[in-house]
Amino acid sequence: MYKELQQLGVEVLSVSVDSHFVHKMWNDHELVRMVDGGIPFHMLSDQAGNIGRAYGVWDESQGIELRGRFIIDPDGVIQAMEVMTPPVGRRIAETIRQLQAFQVVRDSKGAEATPAGWMPGDPVLRPGPDLVGNVWKVWKPKK
């Protein structure tokens, strides 16, 4: 999965309230047994929750950060966000799909849009007067 992100030119940054020293321990003692070569991206430390507050994921009752995921484009603009409570883990495949869709839109300089359920290779929409009322001709939902 990380390889796919690299191929898309995506840099991953993870953040938690653990110190960078604890990140090292976690990587060296557990993650290295799950991921070949250890964690390939920067693991950031936000012990006071300052970054978490700015991103709206700080849970002050527990002193932790919620599972927040932000897609930031090359101009530094947030294009997508998802915040989950801790018990449910993420599904990275959907994040990759969204990244691919945002890259298609950006490559078209905003001329193209991806409809609901869009997967790479599917037709895209070109919003404009001609498309109004005619989406059904170009986009056929599978389900």
Binding site: S14, S19, H20, A48, I72, G76, I78, R90
Partner: protein, 84 residues
Amino acid sequence: MPDEPKGCARVTGAILGAPPPQTAERNSFSHSPMEEPMTARVGRPAPDFNAPAYFRGTFKNVQLSDHVGKWILLCFYPGDFTFV
């Protein structure tokens, strides 16, 4: 520029442009919540920050704005030794 965190001097992330954290108050329970310097919203610039990080055996500081020009996936999670 990512620079080496100096020993234990800097142990947390900071939002750029926010007032410097007052270390004496930081862990105090009576500390009133700081004013939100910026709030993340889609379509708006991502709040910039600088934080110490662990990366492939080394410690370094990471600043978000140093990575402008690349797509970034920023992921928060509740804590180490849990599933990400």
